[in-house]
Symmetry: C2
DNA sequence: GCAAAAGTGTTGGAAATACACCCATGT
DNA sequence: ACATGGGTGTATTTCCAACACTTTTGC
């Protein structure tokens, strides 16, 4: 519902023209999208960052962002930006939160919508390396431009929550992975240690892992089995209901 | 990060002026906030709706919304709109999701940020009733203007999820409430039936309810005890960790 | 006394946790 | 042989679900 409320102005039965002029009057702001792209490598959770374009923030790190075009759907903008900055598409992409503090951008009023995405670092070698695009440890990343630290934190928290309730983790791993890799992923993202045997029992009892009958190669110890995640089985079984718990 | 990416344009070391003009060029859109205000009355989940201002949508229902002012923080806009439309402040207000389809608003490009809020219907009698503001059953509400049904659904789903993990429900009830009222609330919001004894056990074992030593009045049956929610205890004990479960 | 909801305990099964040993491979 | 991590089983506990009867009040 769109209304400019000045005192006692009538609210009923506006024409489209009235509202159009209100929109025109009020649109002194720009909208952008920032993508927080997580990856997993060397047992660490990583995030893709570039160096800020902006002199004011020279040398500081920035998320992958861009303005949304006036005739572009919000989600489409997020996918476009991901593609432009990294050359990647075909990724899970989720809207997380919108940041709209008046002074968050020095160039004027820019409200930004944060999106979050997960990439398999091994399978998606970056082809576009402008602005020093590369992977950074999430835990140790500092020196952000704008409010991008805050945005990253919000996306990281969302990721931690989502990965406990949805099988997102598999997007960060090779198609075939060992249980050790899977556990390392969970331990890294959630920042906890888990019991190896119970972790296995958990995942096997979920019954979403398919044994590929292949083994790890070139590991300096006994090789583990490789598994695939079975999305079809998951789709059929997925849960609707968790109990009340807080 | 703000960049208009036209082919091979240099991305390094932009001046603030460059970006300012990019922002000015691109801001042919407006931003609005829509508030989804849930209440609970007569054992039903309710939502506050008005009749749409817009001729095109005459007679159809609309959420409480307004444009965001250029010099207004996003959250502040949400609180302002809630206040203006209902006379209420002092409410829990949570950003839910941003809706940015190009054609979602007939007056032009209007991206809207949905906020969600919970009101105790009994304690907050509405003083502003412009545009036929009143409570509607969430389940049976139809005939929405814009994409407001979609927005409502998103907020309702978020509410269902949040109420299972956070003690939000108490914002919808009187300060002192019976366990029956609490259970009715959960059953209405989550659309399930629960076992009364297990429900009680659950809440008592959480140990966040304080017995007020008062009883229900004027009920046509045996009166139940009234409880308060103990926020202090909750703040101390709240959980950090749920297991992996999907 | 009767209708309506309050209040209360137990039991069985499922899932989570804690925990220790042998195995396969590379060096 | 040894170091490294793979692979497995069991006992304990905790949590959840299912379930029925007695009590208090208003009418």
């Amino acid at each position: 519902m769109i209304t400019i409320t000045n005192g006692k102005q009538l609210r009923q039965g506006k024409t489209l023209q009235t509202i159009q002029s209100e929109v025109a009057e009020t649109n002194r702001l720009a909208l952008s999208v920032d993508c927080v792209i997580f990856g997993f490598d060397e047992n660490k959770l990583k995030v893709l960052l570039i160096r800020s374009d902006l002199k004011k923030y020279e040398g500081r790190y920035s998320l992958l962002g861009d303005l949304v075009y006036p005739a572009e759907d919000l989600d489409a903008a997020a996918y476009r930006i991901l593609k432009q900055r990294t050359g990647l598409n075909d990724l899970y992409l989720e809207q997380v939160q919108t940041f709209g503090a008046v002074d968050r951008h020095p160039a004027g009023r820019v409200v930004t919508v944060a999106y979050c995405s997960l990439v398999n670092v091994q399978h998606h070698k970056l082809k576009i390396l402008e602005n020093e695009l590369h992977w950074h440890d999430v835990k140790s990343a500092v020196d952000f431009a704008f409010d991008h630290k805050e945005i990253l934190d919000a996306c990281y928290e969302r990721l931690q929550k989502r990965i406990q309730e949805h099988p997102l983790g598999f997007n960060l791993l090779p198609k075939k992975f060992s249980l050790r890799e899977l556990q390392n992923l969970y331990e890294a993202i959630l920042d906890v240690k888990m019991d190896r045997r119970n972790f296995r029992k958990k995942f096997f009892s979920m019954d979403f892992l398919t044994d590929t009958n292949e083994m790890e190669q070139d590991v300096p110890h006994r090789p583990g089995k490789l598994y695939k995640f079975n999305y079809e089985k998951y789709e059929k079984k997925k849960k609707k209901w968790f109990g009340i718990d807080f």
